[in-house]
């Protein structure tokens, strides 16, 4: 049985761990609200963009359309853009995103496709590095960026576009975690190149002839790269909110576990203390009787 001193030390160490998790939980809760507001504020733009693109994508003839819309005509090589966070202590948040991306990568590879990784955020790197060390074409963390803003997302999108034009890949998929609530975050896979244009989205409303200024193709050429930046931007914002949500939940659980542990240890400590006292008494009494 552990000695009294040992038990005391353990209790105090669990207590200080609990203090840390409690503080981290409160920090996450405060940050969550801000991140959630930012993610929600960005949604209207993304939705509008999608609607505009959907109506435009249908009207353009495939022959003249940009390869960003129709693809390169083959699907031999894939670029997986995986966004994770820089920090841990967020439960399974990063692990879930990485798991989804890795599963997709394995599957693509089994079908004989080339897979490349484009990583944003520190936490995904170690795991992916273990299995696809030679396939990471780009890695970037958020250490020098305080707030993810649109300019940053645009820079990322521009870089991806340059790679696409150089023929480095045919299809790009984006992995991030969609924020639902503090308890639920969904790791999501989203195709960004070629742009997925859903045909049913526009079927219900036919607006008739639309005037384009300048031409449809020119508008589309500007819209498509912008759309990629917007998707990455919203993805990163969703990710930020999800991270704080996951972190809050994980830290709440940790705080509760630490509380349970402290209770158990305290009971054990008291029992041990009583046992020690009883033993001492028995020794004294039997010593007195012997005289």
């Amino acid at each position: 049985m552990a000695s009294l001193k040992e038990l005391k030390n353990r209790i105090s160490s669990v207590k200080s761990t609990q203090k840390i998790t409690k503080a981290k939980k409160m920090v996450a809760a405060a940050k969550l609200r801000r991140a959630q507001e930012a993610a929600e504020a960005a949604r209207p733009y993304a939705e509008k963009m999608e609607a505009v693109l959907a109506s435009l994508g249908q009207r353009v003839t495939p022959a003249t359309a940009s390869p960003l819309l129709t693809g390169t005509g083959k699907t031999d090589s894939y670029l997986l853009v995986v966004a994770t966070s820089d920090r841990g202590l967020a439960g399974a948040f990063n692990a879930n995103i990485v798991k989804k991306a890795l599963a997709a990568a394995e599957q693509l590879r089994a079908h004989g496709k080339t897979v490349k990784f484009y990583l944003l955020g520190k936490k995904g790197r170690a795991v992916i590095n273990r299995r696809f060390a030679d396939d990471i074409v780009h890695f970037q963390d958020f250490s020098d960026i305080r707030n993810v803003d649109f300019d940053y997302a645009k820079a990322v999108a521009d870089d991806i576009l340059v790679r696409f034009r150089n023929g480095e890949f045919d299809v790009a998929q984006f992995y991030f975690s969609k924020f639902q609530s503090a308890l639920v975050q969904n790791p999501t896979e989203q195709q960004i190149i070629p742009a997925p244009v859903s045909s049913e989205a526009d079927g219900e409303r036919e607006t008739g002839p639309v005037e384009y200024e300048p031409s449809e193709e020119e508008i589309l050429d500007k819209l498509l790269p912008r759309n990629i930046a917007v998707q990455i931007f919203t993805g990163l914002l969703e990710n930020a909110a999800s991270e704080q949500g996951a972190s809050m939940t994980a830290m709440d659980n940790a705080t509760r576990n630490a509380g349970d542990l402290i209770n158990d240890l305290t009971i054990q400590y008291n029992r041990t203390r009583q046992a020690v006292i009883t033993t001492e008494l028995v020794e004294i009494i039997s010593g007195a009787e012997a005289l």
Partner: protein
Amino acid sequence: MALNFELVSPEKQLRSGSVHQVVVPGAEGDFAVLENHAPMMSTIRPGAIDVYEREGAPAERIFIEGGFAEVNDKGLTILAERAEPVSEIDAGALATEIEEAERTVASAASDAERTQAETRLAALRAKRDVAAN
């Protein structure tokens, strides 16, 4: 009856509601949108949009740095890259930004970089012109 007008930037939704008329600086010339405008879609050059809440009311000016305008049966939607009310433009900060952009243009290493810097500079100059009026 009025025109349903929505102005959104990537960061947030700036305006949503019904107005009388909006004048948009289209890439191929300014155009005004009233209710029941024919469906159209246009890119926007950097410049100010004029929002008229009611007929005859003074215009609210908002600077837009490029983007798209779409008119459909539901109204006018502007997807702006950046948007800022003209009354909030800080002339001093803008002047330093323009100087900076000029330097970037001068020191650009590649053609692509220079084109990008020049676009930025043109946008900033348009912003200055808008603020001056």
